[in-house]
Structures are given as C-alpha cells and as structure tokens.
Symmetry: C2
Subunit: 251 residues, 2 copies
Amino acid sequence: MRRIKLTVAYDGTDFCGFQVQPGLRTVEGVLYDALKTLTGEELDLIGASRTDSGVHSYGNTVVFDTESTIPPERFHKAVNTKLPDDVKAIASCEVAPDWHPRHTDCLKTYLYRADNAYVPDVINRRYAMHFPGRVDIGLMQEAAKYIEGEHDFTSFSNPQSQILKNGGSAVRTIDHINVAGESGGIITIEVCGNGFLYNMVRIIAGTLLDVGTGRFKPGDIVKMLEARDRTRAGFTAEAKGLFLKQIIYKN
Amino acid sequence: MRRIKLTVAYDGTDFCGFQVQPGLRTVEGVLYDALKTLTGEELDLIGASRTDSGVHSYGNTVVFDTESTIPPERFHKAVNTKLPDDVKAIASCEVAPDWHPRHTDCLKTYLYRADNAYVPDVINRRYAMHFPGRVDIGLMQEAAKYIEGEHDFTSFSNPQSQILKNGGSAVRTIDHINVAGESGGIITIEVCGNGFLYNMVRIIAGTLLDVGTGRFKPGDIVKMLEARDRTRAGFTAEAKGLFLKQIIYKN
C-alpha cells in the first residue's frame, strides 16, 4: 500500500465543483471513476481544496492509498489516459502514509481574472468575470497593500463558512497580492497565502474591483477588516474568474 | 438603405465554420438570426473570411445593407443583445454602398497557438493544438524568414482550393511571421499578409512546427516553395489553434 499525491488541473466550467455530490458531475467524482478504471480499486480521495462550482485549477492536490504497482512518478500519465479533456493530472509522486493535503503547512496561490473590455471577450468568457467600465488599477494596487499581512478576515468570508459557524478562527495571513493588467483588457489579481476562508479570494477580488471603480477608497479596507462584518466588504466576484494556481507544501 | 460593417469575434469551437450551411450551427447563420430579430429584415451578409470549422476570430468583418435607423456606430451594441455568448460584434460603422470586404485591399493577421506541454493544458484545449515534444523555437524563427515575402504558395495550400482548381494565381505576399514562446509552454505563430489560400496558415504553422522538431531544416522551405506541390510541405495544423486576429483595410 502506497500513498500517491496527484497534482490536478481542471477547467471548472462543466463541473459542479470539486467535491463528490450524488448525481452531479464533480472533479472528485471524475477522478474517482478514472482511478477505479485504472487500478480496479475503490479509492478514498482526499483533496487539498474543495473548489466551488465553476472554479478552475492548475494545481489542486489529491492523495489516495493504492495497492497499484504503477510507479508513483508515472501515475499521472496513466490516469490521464482515463480522464476527460477538462481534467488532467500534471504530476504525481509517493508521499508518507500519514501525509495529508489539508493538514500540511502550505502556501496557496489563487489567480482572479476580470475582463474589463466593454464587449465581453468571447475566448475568456469561461475564464474571466466580465467587468466593464472605468477601473483604476493603481487604486486597486494601493488597496491590496492593506489586505496583505495577518488579519481577521471575517468581513471577507461567506457567513455560511463551516469554520466560522463552528467558532473557528478567521485569522489568516496573506503573503502578497499582485494586481496587474490594464483598463479595457484582462485584469489579474494574484493572491498568495497560507489558508483561505470560504469565498475569501472571490470577496477580496470583488472588493478590489469595487475600489477600482471608486465605490470604496483604498483606506476603507482598514475599517472593513476591523468591522468583522461581511456586509462591509465588496461583492463576491463570479466563480468562473477564479483559478487555484499552485499549492506549495513546506514538507 | 445603408451598408453597415460589423467587426465580429467568435469562439469557433461550437460552430461548423463561418459560412451558412443548412441544419448546422454556423457563425453567419447565428449572425443572420440575430440581425433578423433586431431589424425584422432578412439581410444578405457578406463575410471577409469564411473561416473553417473550429477556427476562432477576433476580427472577422461582415457587411450588410439595412433600412434600420439604428445609428451605425451603435449597431454592434444592439446586435450583441441578440447574440449568444460565443459570438460578439466588437465594432460597427457605415461604409460606402459598394464597399466589399473581400474586394478591398487589406492586411490580415492570423495567430496560430500550439501547446507544447507534455500534459495538455486544460484551459487551452479549445484554443491551441496540443503539440508535445522537443521543439527548437530558434529553428522555427529561421524557417519563417524563408516564407516571408512574395511567393507562389501552391505547396502551402489545400489542393481542394477553389482558386487553384479554377486556375487562379497562388502568388501571395507574407508581410511578416513572428514565432514566439518557449518549449513546454504555448508557442505562437503570427502570420500577416495581403491574402491567403485555403488552409495556408495552418500548413505554414504545421510546417514550422515540423522544422521545430527537426523533421525539416529551415533552408528546406526554399525547395518546398519551388516545388509547387502540397506533399512537399509539412502537416496541416489543427483548426482549433487558429485565430483570425485582425483585418486592416487600406480604405
């Protein structure tokens, strides 16, 4: 028995999110079926991030324990032969039997993409939120600086968050946020941190876009964070603009 | 009666090409329906480029004569309200009653995209040809120089080309070709010229990729052009990697 770690990319458009749901097409369900076809085993999959419906990934992590004799570093190539075009495993390796993708320190990088063109870009319509209108990138960059660092992110989390409901901490550390792009084109917001609450990146992206249009000032972020109240921050940006770009584990 | 020129973008994935075909979903058919809903008129559309099934566009041109009182420069916004997500008009204006998008001197720019990663990129799977393996970009750039300029492009055209069958000239002028990107990522081939034969850009892209893998040497291009024989050039690269990027009319 070996524990295999797969790094998984997917186009979230045609999935009802990552986590298995009976009767719905999910990333985990499709991976389960492919691994069952490949190994003949009914494997328990553990995913690092249960991305929402419509969210994309270049680097989600999945582990499972298998009796298969396929060499660990070739596992991703083997499973790709059983996967549809919109999910692919991009790397694989063996990890310690107790290694867990959600209980291991890591740095996650998310990318949010907004299409600022007046007419929505047909090619990016599945991979960016359409957000036309005048946007000041400089103000967004200024606001992003206030979000970086360690804060209580209650104002930037969906109140339905299981962690918050159970009285868990909303304190997280954002390592950095990079806002790039230009008015009339694709604006990208890269957010890197050690952990994220439910909808946190989408609320950060929506709030920064609200700063870009002038609805909020960059300095308003300080009061939003202090308020610990979801209604004080900006809108939740659409799922289709969000990419889980990379997860770097510390061990 | 006014002649309106529309600049049209589309994701070619779910279309059977540009030109109307009974019972099939085509770009021209979808535009016709939207314009009929908008104006109540059954309009004759004239397209600049009859792109193949699967080919994308950021700048195809369509003209039609209408009695509509919608201001010409706002026509694209009006028609967009009737168009599906995968076709959008990005500009519109009035042109002279005899202006014709295929009989007016122009410079067309095409972009070809190849995904050189070992595992196909899930997000680019509809917008790039998967072409894994070692590719030398420098050799492709060298070969591209031999294609630039005025030549007889019979070797780089589908023999089913109506123009060639009718004894028309295969002489065309390529203004420039830019090859960019890096091994393991997306390779782009931009081809700009005053006119193109059937499948010409896809055969140029396939031939340059064949040079990249070492199947041909850059200098072989000279003999290929001289041969005026399709079997001497490289493969026809897949439609889904091709974008009609822009058409610039000289008047």
